[in-house]
Symmetry: C2
Subunit: 176 residues, 2 copies
Amino acid sequence: MRKKIALDMDEVVANVMPKFLDFYEQEFGKRLTRDDYWGKKIYDIPGAAHVRNVLYDKGFFRNLPLMENSQEVVKELSERYDIFFTTAAMEFRNSLEDKYDWLLDHFPFISWKNFVFCGDKSILRADYMIDDHPRNLLKFQGKGLLFTASHNTDEDRFTRVNNWLEVRDFFAQEED
Amino acid sequence: MRKKIALDMDEVVANVMPKFLDFYEQEFGKRLTRDDYWGKKIYDIPGAAHVRNVLYDKGFFRNLPLMENSQEVVKELSERYDIFFTTAAMEFRNSLEDKYDWLLDHFPFISWKNFVFCGDKSILRADYMIDDHPRNLLKFQGKGLLFTASHNTDEDRFTRVNNWLEVRDFFAQEED
């Protein structure tokens, strides 16, 4: 039986950072540099808590750019694994259709049967999970990979992958 | 740790049958009786395949009636178990917001963190699953309960529950 990979969307295959930077710039008149935000969440910058509210907007998740190399590596992996997109969408009612359409657009080789919109990811069973949130990996019973994001740079409890080329390398080594 | 119950929506807590009967009657000018459809799906009646298309309509899932006793028994169970609503929504893009709103309306005591919209349910990990589809129970590693629906009356591979009072009794016995 093929092994399953539970694959997060935001900050793993979908890049939310450019939209946050745009919104911050609109609000505060300053384009943040990586040094300004790396190591935290943009909405944890003092005075910027309300920036998080853009996540509730219809359309926010519809036109996010792809994370570099994610499309081609997911395509390769999908030939050997069952890929499930497992995304914590439920806080954001308005994200549901946007995420659905985004996945169909960018990953047409993954069936809608393998889309999972959820909240608490402890309900998931798979062999691997790739996620940027330690809280999701902590509850997971398979092998968890922490995908590097600005907010998780201090985390050292998990196997870390910094980008999609490292994801490709990880699975190549698993199969050796 | 509290045990998890993965709970299907359609034909388990949400009653889709009255809308199908309405639509059939509109199309064919005849109100089906239980004898006409029991043991099969309405859209498997010769000539009625297109009745299934109503599932794609925006609004179809928004105002379905509750299955009898489901609300109160789920409420009781939620005091002792973590209840996750796990519904195969992904074939129907238009169902996503409708199902979300329906759950918030009818089960306000279950957090959105415990809503799971998916396709292939083999991705789920829980202690119990209550579902009307044998294909979902077959892939499940916990204890599966088959909730009686017209289309599954011939099935004999699972523990069957015919209604929500029997679900209540099943869990009372589990805890004896």
